[in-house]
Amino acid sequence: MAIQRPWSVDRRTILQSGAAIAAAQFTSPYIIKARGETPIRIGLVDPLTGVYAAIAQSEVVGAKYALEQINNKGGVLGRPIELLIEDSANDVGTGVQKTRKLIERDQVSFIVGDVNSGIAIAMAQVTSEKKVLHIVSGGHTDPITGTGCSWNVFRICNSTTMDSAAIASTLIEKFGKKWYFLTPDYAYGHSVQAGFEKILKASGGSSSGSLVPLGTPDYSSYLIQAKAYNPQVLINVMGGGDQVASLKQFVQFGLDKQMAVGGALFELESIRSVPDNARIGWWTMEWWWDQPGVPHVTEFNAAMKKITGSSATARNWFGFASVQTLALIANQEKTLDAPKLAHALAGFKLPPEVALQPGAPEFRAGDHELMSTVFVGEAHPPQGDPDNMFTVRNPVPGEKAAGPVEATGCKIQWPA
């Protein structure tokens, strides 16, 4: 008889453990339960881990708040709604797998997500194939509502063209036409840089840049390249933790005294993560918590403050607006049929309590992009309120920033 050692683990145990871990990938996601017996399910896929975890968590907070509001008002079609939240782990394969699982196994009626543009595009292919209404809450790359647009895909956050078009002229006028790009080497980064370059070239400017792998820990070599080019503006397109690390080094190297810095986005989550001396530059905000005179913004901000302890961010609003949009359109049309809802959403205007911004932004019928206001402004250390770290200088209407539908390359093919 073989002697059993106290810590021995045989091959079978390893295989069983491996199978258990693999099976765990297909178990039920975290479900936010609501009242009622036959809830309507919304699947939310976002990178809850990885470099975009902070902004993804913000979207989840906004989505949960919307869920609570909707269920308090009677739900959708008289039924409560549930939110099934999945972590895409900032990985395209995982995002696609989780989307398929939500649709095929969990039978969700709608899909929301992802923060990562590359994942959002891949998810859109799945939702199109499965004919599920899909709201891209926070993935910005142009093709989502451009060359890769689809009848079932709508987007809350801005396209990269909208963000770059809104701020490019300000950067050119204030600082000059010689730019250096620090760009993340994936769909979003390429798309933003292309948008900026198009405008810069049209105004006779010149540029160079570095494509930087996601999650790069040190930016010094890229900043040496930038300094060698001697630009007037460093366009920092990095996001999340990457943007925080690169901006910190930019300031430590004293480059803020030699060139301006700006770009498409410097989200409130990221501004909070850098020290005061790195809270600089000209950027766009896609939503801002301090909009005096705009209805319902104060209430939403207060609600988010109660939940998170901090002011509402654009990501909170993305999650909130995504879930609210789905509930509004389903209640209006009294159906869950995706093609019918998609037809109704094309041209649908968000009511003030969901829009939370000047005017009534609509999902443009030609490309399904929400014509949301782009808030161009300047980052700075806190002034009064600890989250008052951005001053809006120029709110640009969505339609103006987006340009004509024809320029997006979107040709929507509706199902027969």
Partner: protein, 289 residues
């Protein structure tokens, strides 16, 4: 172009010095205990967050002194409870355990401190570049290199001249004989693990000051450190030192010509070394067999 190249080589040495600090801790643990510590980046994060939590009370310098030993104490507890039972087994066991532990640490810090990064301020006099031309050599980066130099020197003195160091080196070569000579191998492994984690904690405090602090920061810094060990040669601390500097320089030089490949180049370098000299630059043959 020559100046740019020189700048990037110098910068690569600075970046590489940081990888050295991480890699030496990893290497110590791997050499003596055969544990491929995937949680090393996690311990770096713990070190950074401990420093962040302590800074309001003891300032940056106090946090720099206190955070690494506190991280080492946590490392000791982890070694005692989780890692020790796996000694003597296939390294795959400890690899899987530390791989899971890395996720737990990342999620744990996210749970405690939130997913949002934390701003870590450094003393203002360190936050200035040396000059307009040598802008990439800041006071803080110089300080970081000095800390790495001192830590490496102390480690080599410890290993060379102290009884503990001699035993660690002997254990790296033949642990069974060391045990047969009556040396408490369990204690030796624990202390060695603690020294390795101390270096991870120190790396965490230094990295937080330069790059900021967030739960995922260890992931991006871990792989270059592993590659430094493989390139330098498993079993050789001098090799780890050279490996760290080499990959820093390789990455910096590549950034001049093809920035997008500056991360990939270290993997290419590793592949080339493994193909031409599988033991690494300074490694001894059969160390991992």
């Amino acid at each position: 172009m020559t100046l740019l190249l020189l700048f990037n080589i110098t910068n690569g040495l600075i970046v590489g010095a940081f990888y050295v600090l991480m890699a030496l801790g990893l290497s110590l643990i791997l050499n003596l205990s055969n544990v491929i510590n995937f949680a090393h980046g996690g311990f770096l994060v713990i070190g950074g967050y401990i420093a962040y939590a302590l800074t309001p009370y003891v300032g940056f310098w106090g946090a720099l002194l206190l955070a690494p030993p506190l991280t080492a104490i946590i490392g000791l507890a982890v070694e005692r409870v989780l890692i020790r039972p796996l000694y003597g087994r296939d390294p795959l066991y400890s690899l899987l355990l530390t791989f899971g532990l890395a996720f737990m640490i990342e999620d744990g810090t996210r749970f405690i401190f939130g997913p949002q990064g934390k701003p870590v301020a450094i003393p203002p006099f360190l936050a200035q570049p040396l000059s307009n031309d040598l802008f990439f050599i800041t006071g803080y980066r110089l300080f970081m290199v000095a800390v790495v130099f001192i830590a490496v020197a102390l480690l080599f003195i410890l290993l060379r001249y102290s009884r503990l160091g001699v035993r660690i080196r002997a254990g790296t070569l033949d642990l069974e004989t060391v045990a047969a000579l009556g040396i408490n191998v369990r204690m030796l492994r624990s202390l060695n693990f603690a020294v390795g984690i101390f270096l991870a904690g120190l790396s965490g405090v230094l990295a937080a000051g330069q790059l900021g602090l967030e739960p995922t920061m260890g992931t991006g810094l871990l792989m270059p450190s592993f590659i430094a060990i493989i390139v330098g040669g498993i079993g050789s601390l001098a090799g780890t030192l050279m490996g760290g500097l080499l990959i820093g320089v390789a990455s910096g030089v590549t950034a001049v010509f093809f920035p997008a490949a500056s991360e990939a180049v270290i993997y290419v370098l590793m592949a080339v070394i493994l193909l031409t000299r599988p033991r690494g630059l300074f490694g001894e043959e059969g160390m991992m067999s």
